[in-house]
Structures are given as C-alpha cells and as structure tokens.
Amino acid sequence: MSGRYHRPHGWAWFLARPGYLRFMARELTGFFVAGYLVLLLVTLCRLGAGEAAFAQWLQELSTPSWMFAHVVALVASVWHSVTWFAAVPQAMPIFMGEKRLPAPLAAVVMGYGPWLTVTAVIVWGVLR
C-alpha cells in the first residue's frame, strides 16, 4: 500500500556505467590542468624575484618527485584535452550547406589543428 516506488540514488553512481567513469576522469583531470597553471604562476613569481631565486626554483623542479609530477600532469592534461576535442564537434557542429562536417574532421579543424599549431609556434619560439 505504498504507491509509487522511488529507487534510491547511491553515492557511487559513477560506478554504474563505464561512460560515467570516463566523465569523472575527464572532470578530475581538469584539476591537474589547474594545478599546472598554479605551478606556472609560481614559476613566474620566482622569475620576478631574481636570477638566483629562479635558478633555485629550477633546481627544485628537477628533483625526481617533481619530474614524476610533471609526467602525471602531462598525461592528465593530454587526456583532458583529447576528451574535450572529441566533444567539440557535438557542441559546435560545422555545416557546409546541408552537409555536416564529419566529427573527426571537425575535431581536427577546431581542436587538434589549433593545438598543434600553437605548440609548434611555442617550440619554434623557444628553440630558435
């Protein structure tokens, strides 16, 4: 005699489907991107503090634990970027007349293309 039955929602909802786990991975890897931005800001502050402070900071960053942190941040950032590049064609479809640009091509045009271009410009600027 209890009317409609409402199923309970558990705290572990994200374990129910693989897609939920992929979503959580995409969102949580964003913390690594944000964390690395903080690291870059600290690096700029140390640069502003003088040559000796910056050299000491670079020395600290070259320890094994910081190197490991860099590798983890790189992997997380690449995963975060790739998942959003895959989502871009859904959020920003490109139409050419009545034809929609295929998703892989749209991801290259709006994601991978600009990413690689900016990376190449930065690498060229640093190495020249």
């Binding site: 409402h6 929602h9 489907r17 939920y20 969102e27 859904q90 959020a91 920003m92 139409f95 007349g97």
Partner: protein, 253 residues
Amino acid sequence: MRTEQTMTLEIFRYHPETDSEPYFQAYEVPYDEDWVVLDAINWIKDHVDGSLTHRWSCRMGVCGSCGMMVNGDPKLTCAAFLKDYYPRPIKVEPLVNFPVERDLVVSLDGFMEKLQAVKPYIIRDDVNDTTGGEYRQSPAELARYKQYSMCINCMLCYSACPVAGHEEEFLGPAALALGHRYNRDSRDRGRAERLDVMLAGEAIWGCTFVGECTVVCPKHVDPAGAIQQAKAVAAQEYFKRFVMPRGAKGAET
C-alpha cells in the same frame, strides 16, 4: 528460430497494493534467436504470469513505449535480442530515474511536464495566415535541426543521465533537445519563450555533459550535443538580458 533451449529472465516486480519493496522474479522462457526481450516478456505475460505489467506498442522501435533497463542498460526491449545475451540470464528493470508505478511501468508525469515546458511546437503569430502560401524551408535549413527531430520520447536518455536522477529542476536530455530543435527551425519565432524556461535555475545548466544520453539514444538524436549548443545560445541570451534588460528579450540572433 525456436529451439529446445531456454533462458532466464529476472524481472523486477512491484505491486503497490501488496508490496512495500520491489523484488526480482525469475522466469524460464523458450530461447528463440529471433526473439527480442519484449517477445520474452510478452510470452511470460501470455503463458506464465498475467499479472506482469509492462508497456509496449509498435514492436518496431518507433513508438518509444518499451524502454526498460536490460542488464543495467536503458534499451528499447523491442530492439534487444535474446541472442546477444544468451545463455546468461537477463535482468529486466523499469527505467531508472523514474518513479515505478507497477512492475516494469514507470510514471511519465514528470517527463511530460518537462516536455511541455519547452513548448515543442512551432510558435509564430501568423500561424493561421496561409495567404502567402506555405512556409518554405531550404534543405540547409532543414539539416540544422533534422537530427534533433528524430526523438521518439522513449526516455532512455533520462535513465542514462545521472543529473536527471539527482536534479529535479533539470529539464533533461529529450526535452532540451526538442526545445533546441524548434529553436533552430527557420519557421519558428518562439525562441525567447523557450529561453525563458531554459534559463531558469538548473533547467539547462544542470547538464554537465556526461554524454551517456547520446550513447543510449536509439535514434541517434545526440541530445548531449543539442544541449551544449542550446547552452551557448542561452549564455548569449543571458548576457544580452543582463546588459540590456529591457531590449534584448525576444530579439533574434
């Protein structure tokens, strides 16, 4: 093709008159590789247990009535073949994120309210004026919304969406995709009215782009994509109304 083999369906049972909690009941059904899960449920109702309650109609993936959880996945049971699960048991439950009325039947009330809220029809003042002929639309204009018009309101997307289950204000994938479909229709003039609804509270902003609504959609509507596009339009409208509180509402962009 019918064989001598059988397989087990574990079906969610709940009768509000007698049950305070749901339970699962196992049924042995003949294994036919041409059968879908809906055929097996119908066989149980016809031959074993007439009290089993479920919803279905067309048996061909058009009406959207027979959506259920099949081994944890929201599926149209008329399109879920037994052979894809055989010989393992199949667990059948009502769609999650909806109150259960009875056995495999869920309440549609909340969904229907949300669907109606986005005004899923063409809105224009001169709707009865046919003196100018038909409202013409180019293939390119049709292409801008056609994908989002294929929704059959099967509600699988609501069962795949974790936000729909936790946030009452969220209008949900199908309703928002349909609202977006009409907002993109070149014949429509009702975008401002729909944006009033979409901009309220968590109606659209509740979406975190999990994307599973698109994964489970049997008609490839891509509600997740529609919602992100609608969010962009809603964000523009929000800032327009913020900057020009009197002038922006109703303006077409």
